[in-house]
Amino acid sequence: MKQLVVVAALLVCSAVPAHAKPTAPVEVRLAATPVRGGYQVTLTATATHDVPALVLELAGKRVAFPATRARQIRTLVATVTVAPGAGVDVVGVARTSTRNRAAVLHVGAAAAKPAAPPAITRTLPDGREIAEVR
């Protein structure tokens, strides 16, 4: 969603258009609510054009929907088991006949992200600044 906002802002603020990459004719969103033993996760897929078929995948579940109209919403709900103090990334996917789109949502305890290697700024003689990682 954030990337759409950025591209849309560029379209509004400039006469020169931004050229986005090819994407699937569907937008996807994940939301979660805590339940006993884990989370109930909902994948919401909104078609941006009419599509002859739409397949949603979430946490091991897979549901095929028939023809879906533009702006029509399809949802898939799954329960994800999460041990106390643990966390997991949940991937939701919407597939049309030729393309797909994915979303990732972390549920449970925050993931201990590996620390990014520190970057030191080195300045080349011509002034270019390099973020050096070793």
Binding site: K2, Q3, L4, V6, V7, L10, L11, S14, V16, P17, A18, H19, A20, K21, P22, T23, A24, P25, V26, T48, H49, D50, E57, D89, V91, G92, V93, A94, R95, T98, R99, N100, R101, A102, A103, V104, A116, P117, A119, I120, T121, R122, T123, L124, P125, R128, E129, I130, A131, E132, V133, R134
Partner: protein, 393 residues
């Protein structure tokens, strides 16, 4: 005894991860002219077809062509010498120093040559860089550098290398000695979308969709740079998903996908994501227009890319009879679209109709029957074959 072992371990830890080979003892402390050479590589993960999805291959070292290499003093960080890797990834410096001085190689995703005006930057505008092991200045030192995936920098070097491939093709096709500077923004976690805008390409780096190894995606965006710089675009821009759309948008996006395939001479577009991604084969897939509708009908970018591929590919393993070349397809941008007064048919801006007009202007009418088979029969696009290049029989 345990204390001694612990002390040795601590001493080892204090040396850090960047300790390289020991200095040449025979020159330690002696001022002189020294030399270092080596090969710069990065860990690449090539996109692969995986059923209807796309996947990434296991990491394989690839040479880093045309990246900037600097020799940096560990003490103080001064840049002692600077150069560019050759197309085999090699570099050589001679430099003045005191033997044994601790130095290291810094490689960065920027070019020092006007022919490849490419820079890959982080979101904070700094250029991506990777530092090699520390070593001591010596008479002849060989210091290879491998930019690892674990460093978070390998993707930036892959992006740079794909831009080199594309920029070299721009020189070969368009004979443009000084194309405008191109900046690519990517870093792990970047979420501002994948798009081209005013000589800059932005690439996603988020967990759900990271385009740092998606070669065909970044080359698609380079295709927009090429139409912007060497040709013409009237695209309104915006989102596109293969559905029939504004012919100017379909043309611009289909052209850009085609360009990305043509520079690799592979007809398969692959975009990986957390859900498996997808691939498209421009050679084998067929997307159609509506034959009894007008030239200004909404069309699919996929159809545009497929027609361009069939006009340009030949002769091996070809499923059409046009013995064309991708270079000839690409030249239509510069030799026709950029300067021609376009026919007032189609969408009123550069689109597939205008490209086909230009193709016949530059190629002549000798392939009319074969092109009709591709355009009218296979893709059912109602092109009139009556452009400024003449009327096909």
């Amino acid at each position: 005894m345990r204390r001694i072992v612990l002390a040795i371990l601590l001493l080892g830890a204090a040396c850090g991860d960047n300790a390289g080979p020991p200095a040449d003892a025979s020159v330690v402390g002696i001022p002189g002219t020294y030399e270092v050479s080596g090969v710069v590589r990065y860990e690449d993960r090539a996109p692969l077809v995986n059923g209807a999805d796309a996947a990434l291959a296991d990491p394989v070292p690839q040479v880093a062509r045309g990246v900037t290499v600097a020799l940096v003093a560990d003490n103080g960080g001064a840049v002692i010498a600077m150069g560019t890797t050759a197309d085999d990834g090699s570099y050589t410096f001679t430099f003045d120093a005191t033997g044994g001085d601790e130095v290291h190689i810094l490689v960065s995703t920027t070019s020092m040559t006007a022919e490849r005006p490419i820079t890959v930057r982080r979101g904070d505008n700094r250029i991506h860089g990777f530092g090699g092991e520390t070593f001591g200045a010596g008479v002849i030192v060989v210091e290879d550098v491998l930019v690892t995936i674990a460093s978070g920098e390998a993707e930036a070097f892959n992006i740079f290398d794909n831009m080199v491939i594309g920029m070299d093709r721009v020189h070969a096709v368009y004979a443009d000695p000084l194309p405008p500077a191109l900046t690519v923004f990517w870093q792990t976690g970047s979420t501002d979308g994948t798009y081209y805008f005013e000589h800059a390409i932005h690439l996603l780096g988020e967990s759900s969709d990271d385009d740092g190894f998606d070669d065909t995606v970044m080359l698609h965006e380079l295709g927009h740079y090429v139409e912007d710089v060497e040709g013409r675009t009237d695209s309104p821009g915006g989102s596109h998903d293969g559905s029939p759309t504004d012919p100017r948008l379909a043309w611009s996006e289909g052209w850009s996908t085609y360009f990305g395939m043509a520079v690799r001479d592979q007809p398969i577009y692959m975009d990986t994501n957390a859900g498996g991604g997808f691939n498209q084969n421009l050679d084998s897939e067929v997307t159609k227009a509506v034959l009894n509708q007008s030239l200004s009908q909404k069309v699919s970018e996929d159809m545009v890319a497929q027609i361009l591929w069939d006009l340009g590919d030949a002769p091996a393993s070809d499923d059409d009879t046009v013995a064309g070349t991708h270079d000839a397809d690409m030249r239509v941008q510069q030799q026709y679209l950029k300067t021609a007064l376009l026919r007032n048919v189609g969408s009123g801006g550069a689109d597939l109709v205008d490209f086909l007009d230009g193709w016949f202007v530059t190629d002549g009418l000798s392939h009319c029957a074969d092109v009709k088979t591709i355009v009218l029969t296979t893709h059912t696009f109602p092109y009139d074959f009556a452009g400024p290049g003449g009327t096909c029989p």
